[in-house]
Symmetry: C2
Subunit: 432 residues, 2 copies
């Protein structure tokens, strides 16, 4: 019998406990190991989570789980990077295998956690840290092991995908939809972490580490959020045949690794464009396998619990096979980062200029774009106002980020340009 | 160093060899094991496959690979169920681990192969047997191990999906598109295996075995092909908001397992409806994880090679960890089949009756349907011909297969009904 201790009896803790209790027999049939939920630590030991647990399972003292010699696996589900980090390191030092859903912890202190685990010869399971129930860690690390990963494009934050979907379907403003998302529990009271792309950046750092064999941290990821997105840009995107999504992108280009999270226009016929609401999807392109996509719920008690329990099951099997801990060495990911500077990233771009409707405006703007090696694919110019600014939309061929920021700075200084220029990166096959 | 021998240097054999040669360094970094492609056996040792191999790698004698004490893993890529079976059993008896892409072999003689492997303490890798490059075996067996699998819906045959996509996009007839598919190499000279749903049935038997813990064979799967599908039905499906796909369905309903392959109308807004051409996709619903979907290329040298090499890598790692062979016991899948009879399957249905345009026809037909407990959701009646038959399309609520076949038999006997009634099962949420 393998004994499990869970620290944190919130949403994911509850889902994990429910699965371990309800599907215990099934797990035994499938893994050949009996997995017993021995203790759960949480400050709130009184609230009824609707799970039947033997008396004495609950405790307020997380330390007692670490000190329990019978417990083989500690599941950290408290979140944050202070108490959680301390808890993980103590559990590892005590020779416990650990499982976590904590992307912030891994994307910030991954090096420390994994090297401690390597030294102690214990496993760190983190399937639940990216994309909830989708087994994307296993897919990238094992299923696609034969592939050089050319690119990963992920919708890996449900909150922002919910907001963008609502904005797209209803033409609503960002702030309006955010409020609704908060009311429904899809967004936190302080939504910064999600809407500014930080959560996606954490998860991307974890995926990229597996894909490219180096330990990337959240600091290596360029992140841009969605709070400045206007329904007008979503409409223009639609007119041009694109959907607007917050994508987390990891890409190998000429031996350099691009890591970036930003609103992205994706051709509407692409499968990932059809991933709506709180769902997640990750597109992975390998040199052998080509295009693949993985779709499912990226959050929630039971989906994330499914991922946590898959780690528990694998470690339990490893303990029974006396191989648990061997994988720790493979998590060193000691390769070079070879990061591409954001300035050097090449992309297609969507621009929305706010210009006065005067003769020669388009010629001035396109002149500056041309000077910075940015060539135009198509233009949408609408509305007629003698004195007010009208939107001028430009879609470009592949251009360098550095050139784009320079051109925009110059264009914003034109007297006929009133208001800040909006630019959004565009993915898809270039048509030329 | 782990030595690999490949038997069968055709499409998948070439892809596998190419990956092992080109990505050898990458595989060593990721797995910690050096995997060496030692021998390849094929009757054609002369054709240039564009891969640089050391002299002496190629041989016509598959037996020499089995007798080579240095070879740890034999990869069977010859196909068929006679020579391949014999080869697999001999390799297993010689204590070699085996990897195969042969769904027909596993869905027909799985019991024999897996029990031999269990006795010999060797692994059988078969990721490549279902859905090519999509790591669906690993996902179902490990990634979703925490879940009771409620349902699997798969587009797992590229040939038929290509044909249906072309028929849908171009309104073309089946026979026309089949010819084109044969010309392009997407369909075999004798296409029966694909177009009659047999290939999908093989793959479904393998997936269902993992999902439901019993050893299902192809004989347990009800299979219906697409050769009788008319563009007219695809058009009516579109009018009703559905796409026509050949789905392989495994489903648990009240403790019984349904296994069936047949043309199916799927709501057009479902993600799986958007899977076109030769691509595969598998929708898996688990009790914890909810809806998930896996998408990618279901065939081809490199995608299938990617799956073969993922098995080789996992076994190689197991050999180096001295655990290879332990998984064999878990492949016994000795549970009860608990098969649902096709007669008892409940589904929504699409009917197309060919009836004379006379008063009272709809009343007669709907009367017979009602008598057999089949209730109507919607009706499309078009065209006016005093003497010729016109199509009468009926969409129903959930009904029992047995009742449907009885009702159709009775309706086909009506004097006003000329020509055979077409019926197609319909998936999706029932609206009532």
């Amino acid at each position: 019998m393998i004994n499990v201790g869970i620290v944190g009896f919130g949403t994911v803790g509850t889902g994990t406990a429910r699965i371990l209790v309800n599907n215990r027999g099934l797990l035994r049939e499938r893994t050949g190991v009996d997995i017993n939920l021995r203790r759960i630590a949480d400050l709130d030991t009184r609230r009824d989570r609707g799970i039947k647990l033997p008396k004495g399972t609950l405790t307020k003292d997380a330390g007692s789980l670490i000190n329990d010699p019978e417990i083989d696996i500690i599941v950290e589900l408290v979140g944050g990077t202070t108490f959680a980090k301390d808890l993980m390191l103590r559990a590892i030092a005590a020779g416990k295998h650990v499982v976590t859903a904590n992307k912030a912890l891994l994307a910030t202190h991954g090096n420390e956690i994994f090297s401690a685990a390597r030294k102690a010869g214990v496993e760190v399971g983190f399937e639940a840290s990216v994309a909830g129930g989708i087994p994307i860690i296993k897919v990238v690390r094992e299923g696609l092991v034969a592939n050089r990963i050319r690119a990963i494009y992920g919708i890996i934050n449900g909150t922002t995908n919910y907001i963008l979907t609502k904005m797209t379907d209803e033409g609503a403003e960002f702030s309006e939809v955010l409020k609704e998302a908060q009311r429904l529990g899809y967004a936190e009271a302080d939504p910064t972490y999600d809407i500014e792309g930080i959560d996606s950046a954490h998860k991307l750092a974890i995926l990229a580490s597996l894909a490219y064999g180096a330990r990337y941290s959240v600091k290596d990821v360029y992140a841009e959020g969605i709070s400045w997105i206007s329904p007008m840009d979503i409409d223009f995107a639609r007119e041009l045949g694109y959907k607007l999504k917050l994508l987390a992108i990891a890409k190998e280009v000429g031996g350099k690794i691009e890591l970036r999270v930003h609103p992205t226009m994706v051709p509407e016929e692409y499968l990932i464009s059809k991933v709506d609401g709180v769902y997640n999807a990750i597109y992975v392109e390998g040199d052998a396998v080509g295009s693949t996509l993985y779709y499912g719920r990226g959050a929630g008690d039971m989906p994330t619990g499914s991922a946590v329990v898959s780690d528990i099951a694998e470690i339990a099997r490893g303990i029974s096979d006396k191989t648990a801990g061997r994988a720790a060495g493979r998590q060193s990911l000691s390769g070079k980062k070879n990061l591409m500077k954001m300035d050097d990233v090449m992309s297609m771009y969507y621009f929305r200029f706010s210009a006065l409707d005067k003769p020669g405006v388009l010629s001035k703007i396109s002149g500056i774009l041309g000077k910075h090696h940015i060539s135009i694919v198509s233009v949408i110019q609408k509305g007629r106002h003698a004195s007010k600014a009208v939107p001028l939309v430009v879609l470009t061929h592949r251009a360098r980020e550095k050139d784009v920021t320079r051109a925009v700075r110059e264009i914003n200084r034109l007297p006929v340009v009133v208001g800040k220029t909006v630019f959004i990166r565009v993915e898809g096959k270039e048509e030329d």
